[in-house]
């Protein structure tokens, strides 16, 4: 264990921990933009700078390993002044459109601008402009709002293992790009969207569906597959505005394209809300009891007439392991046949 002092308070962290992690352990707030607890440190935004006794220049706490006996100061007038300059520089190249931005109210950059009281900007100048593109129905990229924190690049590489995007170009023209500037054509998991601290990456279906303050957060489990990721439905009125996932769940907030973007069916008028039974060649709405009784009767009738092997069961990957277990059990023990299979094996 390493013992260090942060703002006069002593703490112990394991070897390899960063100064920022040590500060968070102590509950000491240090502003960050590019840092994400699940991703390797980047050190690009420079907001998390701290003073370390004996070091002549400020150090980024997110990349500096904690060392034995280190004495760290997280806030001084000089540090706050430098943070303000850095924020002012970021905002000098950022559209002033919080009023209409999808991310307003849930934007780290906006929060920081608010808490540092940013209003005037000494560095107004050229701003990067990019035409919006990408024909895909999932991810909206607004590169003018991108602060190049690199979180999207890291999550795509380190968590998703895809590396669909990376930094390109140099200097002021540096940007996050797809290979050869083609339209985004990845698996559209949207992990990048989930870690973006600004409005640069959002869901295409999110537009004008509701600000964070207006939505009701409803926790549920994804029904798309047996993995069972935790979802948080952001509901406004009776409609899902977007789907997110909490970081403190077993799936750590990570989702796939289906769980994150495949929620439109919930409010679809075509969605089945009751069981249907075909009567005289037409589907007719029925109650659950009626439908189950009908299925039971017919299955027993077939078994009696043709024997158990006339029945087969095919289950779905959307079921959990437990459900699949019960399914094979009812087919084998209930109906007495081994004709049971699963779509994932096909």
């Amino acid at each position: 264990m390493i013992t260090l002092t942060i703002d006069g308070k002593k703490t112990q962290v394991v070897g390899g921990a960063t100064v920022l992690e040590a500060a968070r352990k102590l509950g000491v707030y240090i502003p960050t933009l590019c840092q994400h607890p699940k991703l390797t440190p980047f050190g690009g935004c420079r907001l998390c700078i701290v003073e370390v006794k004996g070091v002549p220049r400020p150090l980024a706490s997110c990349t500096t390993p904690a060392a034995e006996g280190m004495e760290v100061t997280t806030s001084t007038p000089q540090l706050e002044g430098l943070r303000k300059t850095v924020l002012e520089l970021i905002l000098s190249d950022h559209p002033d459109d919080c009023m209409t931005c999808e991310k307003a109210g849930n934007c780290t950059l906006q929060e920081l601008a608010y808490s540092y009281g940013m209003r005037e900007n000494r560095f107004r100048g050229e701003r990067r402009t990019y035409a919006k593109r990408d024909a895909n129905p999932f991810i909206e990229r607004d590169l003018e709002k991108c602060i190049l924190c690199g979180r999207c690049v890291k999550v795509c590489k380190e968590v998703q293992g895809v590396s669909a995007i990376d930094f390109a170009y140099r200097g002021f023209q540096a940007k996050i790009s797809t290979p050869f500037e083609h339209d985004l054509n990845c698996e559209f998991c949207g992990q990048c969207v989930s870690v973006c601290p600004t409005g640069a990456l959002t869901g295409k279906g999110w537009a004008k569906k509701g600000r964070q303050v207006e939505v009701n957060e409803v926790d549920t489990v994804c029904g798309y597959c047996g993995v069972g990721c935790n979802l948080t439905l952001n509901v406004k009125g009776n409609e899902i505005a977007r789907v997110t996932s909490r970081e403190d769940t077993w799936n750590e907030g990570w989702l796939c394209v289906k769980g994150r973007f495949g929620y439109k069916f919930v409010n679809s008028p075509d969605r089945l809300t009751t069981p249907l039974i075909k009567k005289d060649g037409k589907f007719v709405e029925a109650g659950w009891d009626e439908a189950l009784q009908y299925a039971t009767d017919r299955l027993m009738e077939i078994k009696g007439k043709y024997g158990p092997d006339a029945i087969g069961g095919l289950s779905s990957a959307r079921c959990t392991n437990e459900e699949n277990y019960l399914f094979q059990k009812i087919i084998r023990a209930g109906f007495g046949t081994n004709n049971v299979d699963h779509c994932a094996r096909l």
């Binding site: 050190g43 420079r46 850095v86 002021f172």
Partner: protein, 592 residues
């Protein structure tokens, strides 16, 4: 025949080749053959050599008859037959083509350690290097000294990194040696990117084996078995000569398994850089070798602890490594006797800009800047007035006239707000606007920023925009203070050396030439008359003879007038290119 030995050396560094060195060498070979001279000498050779420094005089040719050396300058292929006939066959050197006194003055104050063999040996012939004592240092180290002894020797020599930061080389090696791990790397940083700098290129083009030998010694000392030379792809000649040298060294078992029976396994790979300035920064260079985008990583951990692929890594500059064999051969005391107390040895500089003699120079640390500019450099071109020297390229600063007696060493330059840097030295004269100089360097660093950290990516852009508007006559009150504040903040918050030093040209020109900034902003005047937006051209009626030269030179059709009558300049059409000013023989064109 009249002589026993004949040797002809044609400068074929990049400068020499650009001036036509290849043709000159071919002409010599043809002439010697044509005259049947080869057979007549005990030893007759003609060959290429690397850069000898005075590139402005290329093609330079040494004709050595029985040890008697005559150097010719500005040689073209068609001049060769006369040299062969008169000098070689008749024994009368062609005096009018020989180098003059200024060539010797250029060299007199120099001490060539790193460049000792550059311009003397064929860089593609390992035998030529060995003949002059090459690889003796490596042999000595491998057979007589322990790794710790070598490190002690390098520490004692006082050698500091020549890439710019001046970190003690021996200390770096020791740290890497002590870092735990079986796999360690030696990297030679040949990603020379400062505008106007060509020290490392010349060393590799002129004597690649000195760098390889330095790397072998470093590998032995540190315990590394793999080496890389990270070199710019824009240096094709250096790359080619380096590859030839590596192959030759492998054939002689100076690289590879069990080098010279010592048990040391070490080989070197060449990695080409793709032209990013930031890849000269060591952590970005490591990222680039690893196949990642060349973006710097935070330090600590330092490469000596966790470098290439997380292994202990020593990264040394070309010139640093080329110094090593000399230190081993001649001793730490000898090396330490050169230079000053804290800056030992020599330093190679690329002397460019407004001096008469531009080229590659190697001087002992501690000589005054004045000697470099006014003796080696021969003073300012065209009788103009000295204004400043920019050292350290885009990371450096300028040195004004009243500091001309500053000693060239790490500490003295740092005190002035300049740096030794990798060795770029650009001389500026009265026609250079210092605001524009700062703008030029900021434009460079801004476009070479990797974009990773905010202060460098956006901050240098804003500095550049402010400088831009000042040079355009649109500067505002408060701009100077804003430049100073932003520069300080960028220096303190940037991630790597590029951003941390990028504002130096601004701070340094503000320190010594603040009045030029003030003149631009308050009086809308450029004192150097260099910023186009702030100057006007007019024709003095009293002085104009009506010769029409300016009218013919004007690309915009802005000048009209009858022959032998004073001409007129239409300001609305004038694009301020200065062509009229340059051609007027009567000083009738006035620039204000």
């Amino acid at each position: 025949m009249m002589a026993m030995n004949l040797e002809i050396k044609v400068c074929m560094g990049t400068g020499g080749m650009a001036a036509g060195g290849e043709g000159v060498l071919k002409a010599f070979e043809a002439e010697l053959k044509h005259n049947g001279l080869e057979a007549g000498f005990g030893k007759c050779s003609s060959g290429k050599v690397g850069c000898r420094g005075f590139c402005a005089r290329d093609v330079l040719v040494d004709v050595i008859v029985d040890g008697q050396k005559t150097t010719y300058q500005y040689i073209k292929p068609e001049m060769v037959s006369r040299i062969v006939k008169e000098h070689i066959m008749e024994g009368r050197p062609v005096a009018e083509w020989e180098v003059k006194e200024d060539y010797h003055i250029f060299h007199d104050k120099q001490i060539k350690v790193v460049l000792h063999d550059c311009g003397e040996i064929d860089p593609e012939d390992i035998g030529a290097y060995i003949e002059r004592g090459g690889y003796e240092a490596a042999k000595k180290v491998l057979s007589e000294l322990g790794p710790a002894d070598v490190i002690e020797l390098v520490k004692k020599s006082g050698l500091r990194g020549r890439g710019g930061a001046g970190f003690p080389t021996g200390v770096k090696w020791e740290a890497a040696r002590k870092s735990p791990g079986d796999v360690k790397y030696i990297i030679c940083n040949a990603d020379e990117g400062d505008p106007g700098a060509f020290m490392d290129r010349s060393v590799i083009e002129g004597n690649p084996h000195s760098v390889i030998e330095g790397m072998i010694i470093a590998a032995y000392s540190v315990g590394a078995s793999n080496g890389y030379v990270y070199i710019r792809a824009e240096y094709p000649l250096a790359v080619e000569r380096l590859r030839i040298a590596l192959d030759a060294a492998r054939q002689k078992n100076l690289l590879g398994k069990n080098i010279l029976g010592s048990g040391l396994d070490f080989d070197i790979k060449v990695k080409l850089g793709a032209g990013a300035f930031v890849c000269g920064e060591e952590t970005a260079l490591i990222a680039s070798i690893e196949g990642e985008r060349g973006m710097p990583r935070a330090k600590p951990p330092f490469p000596v602890a966790s470098g290439l692929w997380g292994k202990p890594t020593v990264i040394n500059n070309v010139e640093t490594l080329a110094n090593i064999p000399c230190i081993i051969r001649k001793g730490a005391e000898w090396f330490a006797s050169l230079g000053t107390e804290k800056s030992r040895g020599t330093k190679v500089f690329a002397l460019t800009g407004k001096v008469k003699n531009t080229g590659l120079i190697e001087i002992p640390m501690g000589i005054p800047l004045r000697d470099i500019v006014f003796e080696i450099g021969g003073g300012i071109e065209n009788g103009k007035k000295y204004k400043a020297v920019q050292t350290g390229g885009p990371s450096g600063g300028c040195i004004p006239e009243d500091c001309l007696d500053v000693k060239i060493d790490y500490e003295s330059l740092m005190q002035l707000g300049a740096i030794v840097g990798s060795g770029g030295m650009i001389v500026l004269d009265e026609d250079d606007c210092m605001v524009n100089v700062a703008r030029y360097f900021l434009n460079f660093t801004q476009s070479e920023s990797c974009g990773k950290c905010v202060p460098c990516r956006v901050g240098t852009k804003r500095l550049l925009e402010i400088l831009d508007r000042i040079t355009k006559g649109e500067g505002r009150e408060g701009d100077i203070e804003l430049l100073e504040k932003l520069s300080q903040d960028i220096k303190l918050t940037s991630l790597c050396g590029l951003g941390q030093t990028a504002p130096n040209p601004v701070l340094s020109t503000l320190k010594y030439f603040r009045h030029e900034y003030e003149a631009h902003i308050r009086d809308r005047k450029c004192p150097a008359k260099a910023c186009r937006a702030l100057i006007t051209f007019s024709i003095s009626e009293a002085l104009c003879k009506g010769c029409g030269a300016c009218m013919r030179a004007c690309p915009a059709g802005a000048i009209t007038g009858e022959k032998k009558q004073p001409h007129k300049l239409n300001q609305a059409l004038c694009i301020k290119c200065g062509s009229c000013f340059d051609v007027c023989k009567f000083k009738a064109v006035v620039k204000e």
